[in-house]
């Protein structure tokens, strides 16, 4: 991959989080890509959903100075608590610059693959010292396949390791040629029952499971993960189906992810009147995670948490 391709491939990201220690081995920088096909009821990163830059409005920071209203060229701001008229706003950032209190933040910035490489390289010393690297997360990274591919290839050429986190909804033919550039793939399993899956994530799970089969059949280091969402993913029948599915794939290990409700606070800032798909369930305590872990262990899986 030459440098011009790195410049040509531009992606939309919404955060670069350094010192991430739970997204793969060692000290990592996690890059969050914007845009997702799924609409999970429990989504913890609702700012990742829309595939375009948007403006988040923090009502608690607003001091009613009105400076934002004066500068908006598209008449996309209203003096109410929601403030941003989503279908008029093009995230031009003028309001964010005008407000001294930082009540607006633009979520999503376009970045060229080689620029992003420069950015993550800043922690290279820590990656090398700890066996870490970069993790691409989201949103759903594979929605920006060209960018992801260009980025991973540039990193590989520089000796930086890159891991990929995916919900599994991707076109196999597009991802397969890139797989050898990844240090690992974290693959999220959620709900096995097709109807329930559609109900709580808004998407069909057939292609997801098919991708899981293909990945597991290959030589790629895949880690299957499942968020433990009370009443959604932790039912006995779902756990049993997950275990059966992994056994069928000859996969012996799964990592369970704890759930928290921090995503909910973000919803009003982004103009989601209600959670994208129904309301989020009650946060589970450690006990639910432990119960799921015990159950899956009983079903013969090695369970990481």
């Amino acid at each position: 991959m030459d440098a011009t391709a790195g410049e040509a491939a531009r992606g939309l990201i919404f955060d670069v989080q350094r010192y991430s220690v739970h997204d793969g081995p060692g000290i990592r920088t996690t890059v969050f890509l914007k845009g997702c096909l799924l609409r999970c009821a429990w989504c913890q990163n609702p700012e990742s959903l829309r595939p375009h830059p948007e403006v988040a409005f923090y009502a608690d920071r607003c001091r009613e100075l009105g400076q934002c209203l004066a500068v908006c060229p598209r008449d996309a701001l209203q003096p109410d608590t929601e403030r941003v008229v989503r279908d008029r706003c093009d995230a031009c950032e003028l309001c964010a610059a005008a407000c001294p209190h930082g009540a607006f933040e633009v979520v999503g910035r376009r970045v060229a693959a080689n620029e992003l490489v420069e950015e993550v390289q800043r922690d290279r010393a820590f990656f090398e010292a700890s066996g870490g690297g970069v993790t691409l997360s989201g949103g759903e990274p594979t929605l920006q396949m060209a960018f992801v591919g260009a980025f991973a290839r540039l990193c590989r050429d520089l000796g930086l390791r890159v891991g990929l986190q995916t919900c599994g909804a991707f076109g196999w033919a597009a991802l397969e040629p890139l797989l050898s550039d990844f240090e690992f793939v974290h693959f999220d399993l959620k709900i096995m029952d097709p109807q329930d899956h559609r109900r709580w994530t808004g998407a069909d799970n057939r292609s997801i499971l098919e991708n899981a089969r293909r990945l597991a059949a290959g030589e790629w280091p895949v880690e299957f993960r499942m968020p433990v969402i009370p009443g959604r993913t932790d039912s006995l029948s779902n756990l049993e189906s997950v275990a059966a599915f992994l056994h069928e794939l000859r996969v012996e290990r799964i990592r369970l992810l704890a759930y928290h409700r921090l995503g909910e606070a973000k919803l009003p800032r982004l103009g989601y009147p209600i959670p994208p798909l129904g309301s989020a369930p009650e946060p589970n305590g450690k006990t639910q995670l432990e119960a799921a872990r015990e159950h899956l262990r009983g079903l013969g899986l090695e369970v990481l948490t």
Partner: protein
């Protein structure tokens, strides 16, 4: 493709569990933790009595100083406490501090009636001792203490008044110099006999009437004094042994007596003797001059050969050595500084800065860690005491086991050791003119200062300088906000500046004026110390002094210098960055508006302040802020450059702050960074409270990007981490190695659950041994002022949430 181990679980590395503390060490530790610090008048009374007698008035000052120390060491109370294997007492109490009336003691005596009543760092004072201090000590020294004698009468008045509530700077050297790593390697190999011989032969070469005569004679006197000090303990141990019913203890006491009959007179023959020899010298040095920064240095290097030899001879085992090291560490905890409340604001936390450093390379550059290194690392993990101030050196080839031991101690909340990067520090020392071998053999002094062990008389804590104050002056034509008195030159109005460079130029002008004032005061104090307070014992234990025949205060040591700390450099950098962003780049406000807002302390300026606060801040790996902190460092270092102290060494900059970032901060008005008037600056090179929002790697990248070579006197950088973020030792190890590979010079890591800190704040006494790292040293949490406690909590909380 390599199949990585996906789970980050176990790193596969294992080191043996740290050794357990022996019952003896645990008991001594408990006794010391329980002992309420006292003021011990013994030193002040004996030294005063000696000088009052005036029997040797005709003698040169250096001889009188040696005789005074001898008088003190011969007449001070001898105490051997139950179970002790190493003997010798700093004071006549279990835990206490002395007074140094010829130095800063007179100023400390302003608290004589409040020491025991004050809320922070209370010190017991015996009423009888208080009376004697008032009647015998104070009247004699009031017209004679060094700071007073250093100036003309009017100059002295001005200086003392200024230093009573110091705004621009604090001259610590008025309390004496100390702050060095004694040549303990020489002491344990040659003993006082060796030094006495060297002094005698030098005297024979130069002649008794040569200028070196008095100093060389004084060396013989302090050798006698040290031997007499040891002999007092020999007799006491023998006496105790003769009355001891318990056979085991009796043999221990007999062994102590035997050791005290040999060292420090002779070179040490065993590990035990080496430690005892060092302890006697350590005590005597703390009594000779300022009880601060007398740093034992590279104990693992000094003791390693003794340990191996004893082990081979079968006279020592690992547990035994561990116990002796524990006894040594606890001895160093028996002394605390006696500071008035004023001084406590700057030097809070009751610590004497007795630094011990482990690891690093030898003079050839090869890794030098050894079995004693491991023992000392285990000790700092198991026995979490405020003293010694433990440091660890790291270089490219530091062994994995060594790193893991350090990571385990820190992740477990030990708070020690603070970490030093050889790859950065050795070249800095080389650039200061140190030989390659000496630079590689560096040790640390006091808080964070790297020096040549046994060779540098560096006065590393000569003064602290309040950098942000000079930014305030720059913005207000040489006056503090709201004041009519002009402190600095009348520079042009800040409002007329059309670029950040012009603002920086105003700052530089104010800075130069302030530094010039400081250096004039320092030169006077240096002369005062040389004339009135020579330190023959210190000098004997510094290479160069015997050869040149000059006392260290006269520049006799091999390496000389003075370290001056720029406090609040991050605040200055953040302020410049905010001005650049808000005023010059985005033109969201005029300079006049910002200055007016600062003058008003941001009253009714919420919007502007919010904007300033949101501008780039140091600690986020953001060059827009980091480069201004670098500029401020460069400016301060450049103002010191090219000036020589009276001992013939350079003035060099350091960027660590002890607790002066609180004290200085309380005096400075609002600043363009958005900081409110009177609030604390950040500690050393740490980011402002709540300003580092991108995690520890970004903060480390920021600090690594600074021109650290302009800080030969050392820096401190605090990294506070929530326990979850270092659940794997590999993460902490990665932070340290990564930060040092990126070019950081120093870091001190605190891993503490904020809940425990809050509990400790609300219930003093519940966690008596809770150790937190402040700014180059550790302190018991309970010993901190309420403001410092809150600062530690705020920083920890913010990390926990942001992380």
């Amino acid at each position: 493709m390599i199949r990585p181990s996906i789970h980050s679980g176990d790193s596969g590395q294992k080191t043996p569990e740290p050794l357990a503390l022996s019952e003896r060490v645990r008991q001594i530790h408990e006794t010391i933790l329980r002992a309420a610090p006292a003021l011990c008048a013994e030193r002040a009374l004996l030294v005063t009595r000696y000088f009052r007698r005036r029997t040797d008035r005709a003698e040169p000052r250096v001889v009188r100083k040696a005789s005074a120390l001898a008088y003190l060491l011969r007449n001070k109370k001898v105490r051997i406490y139950p179970g002790e294997r190493l003997v010798g007492c700093f004071t006549s109490y279990r835990v206490a501090g002395g007074l140094y009336p010829e130095l800063h003691g007179v100023a400390m005596m302003e608290d004589l009636f409040r020491f025991d009543k004050r809320a922070v760092n209370p010190i017991r004072v015996d009423p009888k001792a208080r009376r004697r201090l008032l009647l015998e000590v104070l009247p004699y020294w009031l017209p004679r203490f060094v700071a007073l004698r250093s100036f003309s009468p009017l100059g002295a008045l001005a200086f003392v008044l200024d230093q009573l509530s110091p705004a621009s700077y604090v001259v610590n050297e008025t309390g004496g110099v100390s702050h060095f790593v004694p040549d303990y390697a020489g002491l344990v190999s040659r003993g006082t006999e060796g030094f006495r011989r060297q002094a005698a032969s030098r005297l024979a070469e130069l002649g008794v009437d040569s200028p070196a005569g008095p100093f060389l004679r004084s060396v013989a006197l302090v050798c006698d004094a040290l031997e007499a000090f040891a002999d007092g303990y020999r007799r006491a141990a023998q006496k105790l042994a003769s009355r001891e019913a318990d056979g085991v203890r009796r043999r221990e006491l007999e062994r102590i007596a035997e050791i005290c009959s040999r060292v420090p007179r002779k070179g040490a023959g065993t590990f035990h003797e080496a430690l005892q020899s060092i302890l006697f010298a350590q005590i005597a040095l703390n009594l000779e001059s300022l009880d601060n920064g007398v740093s034992p240095g590279r104990l693992d290097q000094i003791l390693g050969p003794f340990y191996q030899r004893d082990l081979a001879a079968g006279v020592l085992d690992r547990e035994d050595a561990f116990e002796l090291l524990g006894c040594f560490a606890l001895k160093l905890c028996e002394i605390v500084p006696v500071f008035s409340e004023r001084t406590t604001r700057i030097h809070g936390g009751m610590m004497n800065g007795q630094a011990v450093v482990v690891g690093g390379t030898d003079a050839e550059g090869k890794d030098a860690s050894n079995a004693v290194t491991d023992l000392l690392l285990d000790l700092m993990d198991r026995l979490r005491t405020r003293q010694p101030n433990y440091h660890a050196r790291l270089h490219r080839s530091s062994p994995a086991g060594y790193q893991l031991r350090i990571a385990r101690a820190l992740a477990g909340g030990a708070g020690s050791p603070a970490l030093y990067n050889d790859e950065v520090i050795v070249p800095i020392l080389r650039a200061q003119g140190m030989t390659e071998r000496d630079a590689r053999d560096y040790a640390t002094v006091g808080c964070v200062e790297p020096v040549a062990a046994g060779k540098s008389f560096q006065s590393t804590d000569a003064a602290l300088f309040n950098l942000p104050l000079f930014l305030e002056l720059a913005l207000n034509r040489g006056r503090r906000f709201g004041s009519w008195r002009r402190m600095g030159p009348k520079t042009p109005r800040a409002e007329t500046c059309s670029s950040i460079d012009e603002v920086i130029e105003l700052f530089r002008a104010q800075l130069e004026h302030g530094v010039a004032r400081l250096l004039r005061a320092l030169a006077a104090i240096e002369d005062g110390n040389a004339r009135w307070h020579p330190t023959p014992l210190t000098s004997m234990l510094l290479r160069g002094c015997l050869a040149t025949g000059r006392d260290a205060t006269h520049g006799g040591a091999l390496y000389n210098g003075s370290g001056i700390q720029g406090v609040g450099v991050v605040e200055v950098g953040d302020s410049l960055a905010a001005l650049e962003a808000v005023v010059f780049q985005h033109r969201r406000a005029s300079l006049r508006e910002v200055v007016t807002a600062c003058r008003q302390g941001f009253r009714d300026c919420d919007a502007l302040r919010a904007r300033l606060l949101r501008s780039p801040k140091f600690g986020n790996d953001d060059p827009r802020a980091d480069r201004f902190v670098g500029r401020a460092m460069e400016l301060f270092a450049a103002t010191l450059e090219g000036r020589e102290n009276r001992r013939g060494g350079p003035y060099v900059a350091g960027f660590y702050s002890m607790t002066a970032h609180q004290a200085f901060g309380s005096l400075v008005g609002a600043l363009p960074s958005g900081r409110l008037p009177g609030t604390a600056f950040s500690s050393g090179l740490s980011a402002g409270p709540g300003c580092d929002r991108r995690g520890p790697t970004a903060a480390l990248c920021s600090v690594a990007s600074l021109p650290l070579h302009r800080a030969p006197n050392g820096v401190n950088f605090n990294l506070k981490l929530a326990p979850w973020s270092v659940a794997e030792p590999a993460w902490l190890q990665g932070l340290v190695r990564g930060g040092f590979a990126a070019g950081a010079m120093q870091m001190q890591i605190n891993v503490i659950d904020p809940k425990i800190l809050i509990e400790a704040r609300d219930h003093p006494g519940r966690y008596p041994g809770l150790l937190v790292r402040i700014s180059g040293y550790s302190s018991y949490f309970d010993d901190l002022s309420p403001e410092m406690k809150q600062e530690v909590i705020d920083r920890t909380l913010c990390e926990a949430v942001a992380g």
